[in-house]
């Protein structure tokens, strides 16, 4: 791209607004957020209302379908669409809270390891390597078993597992930035190390971090679904995609839609977070921008 000619490179906002990935995927996630907040208004039925006479009704368009139950009903006669709509609440809560906290803790440790070096770096890197030797799914199940099933445990488990992703990337990035001229200059002027870390290095690591955070949200949604699937997430009264998937897996031969609909929602959400992260990385990263 001829970025060195007259009007100069477009601003970050303009670049983001031009990236179809950011627009489509970001738009999808915005819609999801609205659906989660407005779930009681959007859902056609009560997600908890059981009616065994209406059990395993197929989606509209198939034989024996009933109007009002657009994606059919589950084994207890609950409306699948309404349960998926309410399920967005848990999925998005986990996505934002767990990924956000993991990002905060991992980045802080990564900054410290990358900038202060030596002992701090050796200790944090060892901790990361120990963590990486655990299969993540097994560790998350173990943690939730230890902490007791529930939303808080799920979030805590994801944070405890996934801080390493942020730590590794931020550490590498910080080390690279710490070698650069502007950091040397800031040091010569007499900036304190903490000031350099938070005012000089952090803003330059931020683009990578934002893209990684978005990717991580997608991962958190899947981990929550896996824990729900195993039966360790929120209580079975609250609709979750993973819980629905687990139930759908049991009755897949009688009612495939109970599995297919929440799985499609999970798929779309994960892909959206991933594409958004890709787009953000492309638009924000100064290296890729060139």
């Amino acid at each position: 791209m001829p970025t060195d000619t007259a009007p100069g490179p477009p601003s970050v906002v303009v670049r983001l607004a031009r990236d179809p990935k950011v627009i489509v995927a970001g738009g999808f996630i915005l819609v999801l957020i609205v659906i989660a907040i407005a779930a009681p208004l959007v859902a056609p039925q009560d997600p908890l209302e059981q009616n065994l006479l209406n059990a395993t009704l197929p989606p509209v368009g198939f034989a024996d379908a009933q109007p009002g139950f657009y994606f059919g009903t589950d084994g207890l006669g609950r409306d699948v669409l309404s349960r998926v709509i309410f399920g967005t609440r848990i999925s998005l809560t986990v996505a934002f809270v767990a990924a956000g906290l993991a990002c905060l803790i991992g980045s802080l440790l990564g900054l410290v390891a990358g900038f202060f070096g030596r002992l701090a770096d050796a200790m944090i890197s060892w901790l990361v390597s120990v963590w990486m030797a655990f299969p993540p799914v097994l560790l998350s199940i173990l943690l939730v078993a230890v902490l007791g099933a529930g939303l808080h445990s799920v979030i805590a488990a994801i944070v405890i597992i996934d801080w390493t992703r942020f730590c590794r990337v931020v550490r590498t990035e910080t080390r690279a930035q710490a070698q650069m001229d502007y950091v040397v200059a800031a040091r010569t002027i007499g900036f304190s190390r903490t000031a350099i870390l938070f005012r000089e290095i952090l803003p330059n690591v931020l683009p990578v971090l934002i893209a990684l955070l978005t990717l991580e949200m997608g991962i958190a949604v899947v981990v929550e679904a896996i824990l729900s699937f195993v039966g360790l997430s929120v209580s079975s009264d609250t609709p979750t995609w993973g819980g629905m998937i687990a139930e759908g897996r049991q009755i897949v031969h009688e009612a495939w839609w109970v599995l297919a609909v929440p799985l499609a929602a999970l798929f779309a959400t994960v892909v959206a977070f991933n594409q958004l992260g890709d787009g953000l990385a492309r638009s924000l990263d100064p290296v890729l921008r060139r």
Binding site: A133, V137, N274
Partner: protein, 335 residues
């Protein structure tokens, strides 16, 4: 020196394993659920509980328990499974082959699939074909094994019901095996009907594990291949009159494979970790499925053994990758 690299890696590996051992031990000791209370019959008194705790060594001070466990673990003795009443080592030995066969099959499928598509994409570079591959792959990159597994269930067990949904082998055929490596053994002994049955059980879990890795391979290998195709030695070979396919396979691939190999190794550990949930979905009798049962049943000795086994596998894979990469890169070999 390669020897120094190996020695250093092994020392690091032992340090990491020690960390894993401490973490899992501490984690399990803060579990609120009492395994002994869960397994004892309702009429048992405090004396019975105490006796049982003493039997499993759960009444000793924490440090003593840790010392006993570590001492055993070093000699390969992980104690007795509380729920299965069998030595942990025996349970692991009988379940590990199923997981190894699954993970290696998935690795092979991922390399063939990912490599094939990357080469096809390189041959089609600059055309609409490459755009389609890139577009599809960028979506596939986001899809984890968990989603693949369930999508395959919908496809091959419901829409086109041709594959068995659960298990590793038809129970009627699971006889007369000398080892637990059912697939390998049935192929080596020429029992192809049995091998076919095992393979049909393995298709879905294998694909679920292989597809995410294949997507990663496609992206990196295609990029490396495209870069290699612009190099002088490829140009030279092109002038000599080599065909496009031969240029990619003979000239570019050899030089482009390095980064992909290293990444595939790292990703293979994720694949092995993925067996936990994928085996669960297909009721496949490996160590991953076992691990979830062990956690749900609070089977301390079994969990500890399983986690250490997974840690050991991860570390061995990493060492293997480092050595392969080092032996392929002449600069590192003498470094």
């Amino acid at each position: 020196m390669l020897f120094a690299v190996v020695a250093n890696r092994i020392a690091m590996a032992l340090l990491t394993l020690a960390g894993v051992a401490v973490v899992v031990f501490v984690l399990l000791r803060v579990v609120p659920g009492d395994p002994v209370a869960m397994m004892i019959s309702p009429g048992a008194g405090p004396a019975d509980i105490a006796a049982l705790k003493a039997h499993y060594g759960l009444d000793a001070p924490l440090l003593t328990q840790f010392w006993i466990w570590i001492k055993g673990a070093v000699t390969g003795d992980f104690g007795t499974s509380i729920t299965l009443h069998v030595y942990v080592t025996e349970v692991l030995a009988s379940r590990l082959p199923a997981t190894l066969e699954l993970a290696i099959a998935a690795l092979v499928v991922a390399v063939i699939l990912g490599g094939g598509v990357a080469i096809a994409g390189t041959l089609m570079r600059g055309t609409i074909g490459e755009t389609i591959i890139d577009g599809l792959n960028s979506i596939l990159l986001a899809v984890p094994d968990f989603i693949w597994a369930l999508a395959l269930v919908l496809l091959f067990a419901v829409a086109i019901p041709v594959l068995p949904l659960t298990g590793r082998i038809d129970p009627e055929l699971a006889e007369g095996f000398a080892t637990k490596f059912y697939l390998t053994e049935s192929i080596l002994t020429g029992r192809f009907a049995v091998a076919g049955d095992i393979a049909s059980h393995m298709i879905m879990p294998t694909l679920a594990l292989a597809l995410p890795l294949a997507a990663v391979i496609v992206r990196l290998l295609k990029q490396s291949l495209k870069e290699a195709m612009l190099q002088d030695y490829v140009l030279l070979a092109r002038i000599k009159g080599f065909g496009e396919l031969r240029l990619v396979l003979q000239e570019a691939l050899r030089n482009a494979i390095g980064p992909t190999l290293a990444l595939t190794g790292v990703q293979f550990t994720f694949l092995v970790g993925g067996t936990v949930i994928v085996e669960r979905i297909f009721a496949y009798p490996g160590i991953g499925n076992l691990a979830i049962d062990a956690v749900i049943n609070r089977d301390f000795p079994l969990i500890q053994g399983l986690v250490l086994l997974f840690g050991l596998i991860f570390i061995l894979i990493n060492i293997g990758v480092d050595l392969t990469v080092a032996s392929l890169n002449p600069r590192l070999r003498h470094g």
